[in-house]
Symmetry: C2
Subunit: 367 residues, 2 copies
Amino acid sequence: MADDAGMRVMAEPLKAYCTKVFQRLDVPAEDARMVADNLVSADERGISSHGVARLRRYVKGLQGGVMLARPEVRIVHETPATALIDGGDGLGQPVSRRAMELAIEKAGKVGAGFVTVRNSNHYGIAGYYAMMALKHDMIGFSMTNAAVLVVPTFGRDAMLGTNPISVAAPAGEERPFVLDMATSTVPRGKLEVYDRMEKPLPLGWATDEKGEPTIDGTQVLDNFAKLAGGGLLPLGGAGELLGGHKGYGLALMVDILSGVLPGAGYANNIYLKDKDGRAQPANVGHFFGALRVDGFRPVDEFKATMDDLIRRLTATSKAVDRERIYIHGEKEYEIADDRRRNGVILHHKVVADLKAMAEEFGVGFDL
Amino acid sequence: MADDAGMRVMAEPLKAYCTKVFQRLDVPAEDARMVADNLVSADERGISSHGVARLRRYVKGLQGGVMLARPEVRIVHETPATALIDGGDGLGQPVSRRAMELAIEKAGKVGAGFVTVRNSNHYGIAGYYAMMALKHDMIGFSMTNAAVLVVPTFGRDAMLGTNPISVAAPAGEERPFVLDMATSTVPRGKLEVYDRMEKPLPLGWATDEKGEPTIDGTQVLDNFAKLAGGGLLPLGGAGELLGGHKGYGLALMVDILSGVLPGAGYANNIYLKDKDGRAQPANVGHFFGALRVDGFRPVDEFKATMDDLIRRLTATSKAVDRERIYIHGEKEYEIADDRRRNGVILHHKVVADLKAMAEEFGVGFDL
């Protein structure tokens, strides 16, 4: 893929570099390591849109004061199985990791733990947190709302984010099931890839400013920049014929669980700007959950059944010209196997930007 | 709609009729009322595929002995926030209602409650159980696996059910959010409707026996009957271009939570037949959950925010030639308002079958 063209960089020194950049911006060492680990993990899993390519945006957020390096994070309310955490406008990753740890701790005690977060920011890949449950023999859940890009069914303007859902479940000898999906048909980055290749979009990815399906990705991106209307389509595409109302419903569910339930931003009431066009704290919200497998069934039985389920699916007959049926997370595990041995792949523009930041913050860039 | 053509019947006498039929088949009165209420509720909400049109299948299941009228239902295991219930091969509705009640009871005590069920049967509309949480100011979850109809991405044979997801969240002055969606693009019933109208299917609904997308619904239904391969497509359609792997992932998630987690059937290991082609107990599995809103945030604040979210979405600009943006559950609430006043609408074939069963079981049919 053209998108994968770039330089190989080993993960550990890349994490160390990112950690140092965050520390120069006054982020405490532990928090800095958490964000770095999350970003590089995305690159390891081949999700480069959520990897260190995002570092500049986080740096800008910290520099502009809309993300705080040392937020006041507090548990606002809790019960044995639930909690609400206020992220204090800090980076999304450290509070999300602590929220998922709290969900796991609660599940350890009473069987289930669900923790929501408000006043947070972009938290990276959703799957990172759901996967934290796996080593505890729990099923993990992670959702977040996000900047407004997705048009509701029969609407003209974007009103929801790409609001991802991640669910991770352990298996035995097979790899875990790790679903990590935006509830839009595609993320915005996919339009940018097609735009660079000057390819028309498939119908079902996006709408124009009148709310009509379009193949003109350049126009859609231009409309985003001008706030002219239109946007990405929910999973299932435009209208109801192919189930677009279902993708819209999933995006709305995520907004309710991760935006409304913690009292964070929601719908187009997120990532607001003041009268002079200056960014305000994003007030992104998250939803995390953990269920103990042995709150229902012995772990070894569950894992043996997961193995059988996975084998049944991957062994079944393939469609014409297809050689393989995948389980969710499988592709990413295979990519990560390669990246951990041979390094993550960074686009040359990303490498140039990392070097620029290395100079800007006086940290070494010896990758 | 041609499908709505039929006779108006008031809900209460229809429930009483169904209750009597089940009682004649030795189902205890309370259980019989639960199943009747669930079926007629589906008709009230306009989901006639899951209404009393299904009564005959339940009757056959009870007569054939694969569904037991008086099952031994027991809690196999529980923690403060979780439980596993064995449905003892009884009707799906009574055990599901009790499982959701247990989830709500647990959420009342510790903030969250999640209950799975094994050795069950078809449970009717998923939303019925999720909506039980609403009056307790909780968010409700309901999922079930089902008979194998859906082809995994890049596969040739159906390996998963239409595995629905329902999530219900209360609002204040506005109606609740009630998502209730099959994870396939459409249910099988939709193919039957197109078949009767002799209309070609939209691409993205189904595949032929080679795993290729098809517009020939008659062939797909024929293939189902002959077990010749092919089937319904997951939400997002064939392949990955429009996100079919996401719909497949959601269907698989439902199978893990409602099939694997309780130790019920899963994938094509459900609704099995013996060597002589006789149906065995279906071993359908379900997953129910409840989260107390005030486990996170005061209920009045949550409801006020839900109202604002709903109003923002419904008030936003409409696409060309569209007059309305819907919230999930809204259409069904409006239909139910009419049906409760004027009666549910039963297809004349369904009415004829109800009359036949009235005669068969010697119960009055005075609707």
